[in-house]
């Protein structure tokens, strides 16, 4: 398969970027999207040109590093998959593919397609954890947890913090990410104890970092590679508002 790639190139955070067009040829349909970019970069290096910078790590959909906006969609075509899980058979032979970095004020571009997603780390540092004494590992069944609660918690914990939610949201809102983190702990007895403090601290940090306000469009849920439901946003709203009214 042959493709024309329109890729955002930007030297560094301060430089003005722009699109550059490249051709890649003889790409197997079973090549992953990131492998296709590897092939492009290999060609560019052979031509003595600067390769395209893009984030990637595990290439199996669990690390949350790959973060490309492909043809207008976060993580490209197909739902419930990260960029590294997209294969070139998803595209038409001869298609022009536009590749952009995440666009959100809280995720500044560092270089080409790489953005700084440190804002998510700072939200987590504000409260996305459980404070426990680090003694020996307790027995797994010491605290009984209803299956439905454990399932809901695990669904929320599937969030890989890739940033697709804020990057897709027309408001640049990080609510789905914060909600997933708050919800995954709020549904477990260990996390319940610090629920109120966590919700308030994480929302305050999210606001402070300049993320937008959720308007319930549901675009984040549609583009989330882990298909995390906006029901977790409702739970975050509940946690936050009840914590505030208790103050």
């Amino acid at each position: 398969m042959n493709f024309t790639l329109k890729i955002w190139r930007q030297k560094d955070a301060k430089s003005k970027g722009g699109f550059e067009t490249y051709k890649v040829e003889n790409i197997s349909a079973d090549t992953s999207f990131l492998e296709m970019l590897d092939i492009l970069n290999n060609n560019l290096v052979h031509e003595g040109k600067e390769p395209v910078a893009f984030d990637h790590d595990c290439r199996e959909g669990i690390c949350g590093m790959c973060s490309l906006h492909i043809n207008g969609l976060a993580h490209g075509p197909g739902q419930g998959a990260t960029t590294c899980q997209i294969y070139m058979r998803k595209f038409r032979d001869g298609e022009t593919i536009t590749i952009e970095p995440w666009r959100s004020a809280a995720f500044p571009v560092i270089k080409d397609l790489v953005v700084n997603r440190g804002a998510y780390d700072r939200i987590l540092q504000a409260g996305g954890f459980v404070s426990v004494r680090t003694n020996s590992v307790p027995d797994a069944n010491a605290i009984p947890i209803p299956k439905a609660d454990a399932d809901e918690s695990m669904d929320a914990a599937a969030c890989i913090g890739c940033g697709a939610c804020a990057a897709t949201c027309k408001n640049g809102s990080a609510m789905l990410f914060v909600a997933a983190r708050v919800s995954s702990l709020a549904k477990l007895p260990q996390g319940r104890v610090e629920g109120a403090r966590r919700a308030k601290a994480m929302v305050a940090k999210m606001d402070e970092l300049g993320f937008g306000n959720c308007t319930n469009t549901g675009a984040c849920q549609a583009e989330c590679p882990k298909s995390i439901s906006i029901a977790h946003i409702a739970r975050l709203n509940r946690e936050f508002l009840s914590a505030k009214f208790e103050d």
Partner: protein, 234 residues
């Protein structure tokens, strides 16, 4: 607590949700009152007389105006913050995400259309009814009594352009409510995956009832105005 309602994103959205809920309840009341004008113009005028510029109607008007103003100001503030959060560099290519409604992405634009319609409506009715009473006058600029709402409806909707403007207004309101009604439950935290289809269904049903209820009065009075014999007896 007053702080979080103006400083925090979730607090500001709660204010949008509560004021939105209040406005939906008012709209349902207004629509029920309007339908009386189809069944009995005399009955409708009796309601106009009962409300008029009495203290409870004036207090209600002030609370209602405050609700509209707060809902509007918060909407503008939230949208400006969202615009800033989106960043100056936008995507070159965008596509509609699956299951994302058009209304949910255009609430402010719809809100501006609704506000524009409201201003026209205040000019057409409030300024010729309650305001006339507040000013202590006995007839409005059209020569009707301030409690003769039915005559004012008949006069206004004998003009085809007001019929069109009002129907566009109601349509914008329909779109706004289809997203706004379920969204207010989500913002208050009263939603989950089981209830989303139900809440969206309730939102669509309420929005449609509101649209049909308001539009019925406009259309019935417009058709009556087309009849050569007065009062729609033909």
């Amino acid at each position: 607590m007053s702080c979080f309602l103006s400083n925090s994103s979730l607090g500001k959205k709660l204010v949008m949700s509560i004021t939105g809920c209040f406005l939906v309840l008012f709209i349902l009341f207004h629509m029920s009152m309007n339908i009386t004008a189809i069944i009995s113009p005399e009955g409708y005028n009796a309601i106009c007389e009962f409300l008029g510029a009495n203290w409870y109607a004036l207090a209600g008007t002030l609370v209602l105006a405050a609700g509209v103003v707060v809902h509007f100001i918060y909407a503008v503030v939230l949208t400006l913050e969202n615009y800033k959060a989106r960043g100056s560099q936008r995507y070159a290519v965008t596509v509609k995400e699956p299951n994302v409604s058009w209304a949910s992405k255009n609430m402010l634009v719809l809100g501006f259309i609704i506000l524009g319609g409201l201003l026209i409506h205040l000019f057409n009715f409030w300024a010729k009814m309650q305001l006339v009473e507040i000013m202590g006058e006995h007839t409005n600029s059209l020569g009707f009594g301030p409690a003769d709402g039915a005559a004012l409806i008949a006069y206004t909707f004998s003009h085809w352009y007001y019929v069109v403007i009002y129907l566009v207004w109601f349509l914008a309101l329909w779109f706004h409510l289809t997203h706004g009604i379920w969204s207010m439950f989500q913002t208050a935290g009263w939603a989950n995956d089981t209830w989303y289809p139900r809440l969206k269904c309730i939102a669509n049903v309420v929005a449609t009832i509101v649209f049909l209820g308001f539009a019925a009065v406009v259309i019935v009075y417009f058709i009556q105005s087309l009849c050569p014999c007065n009062g729609g007896a033909c």
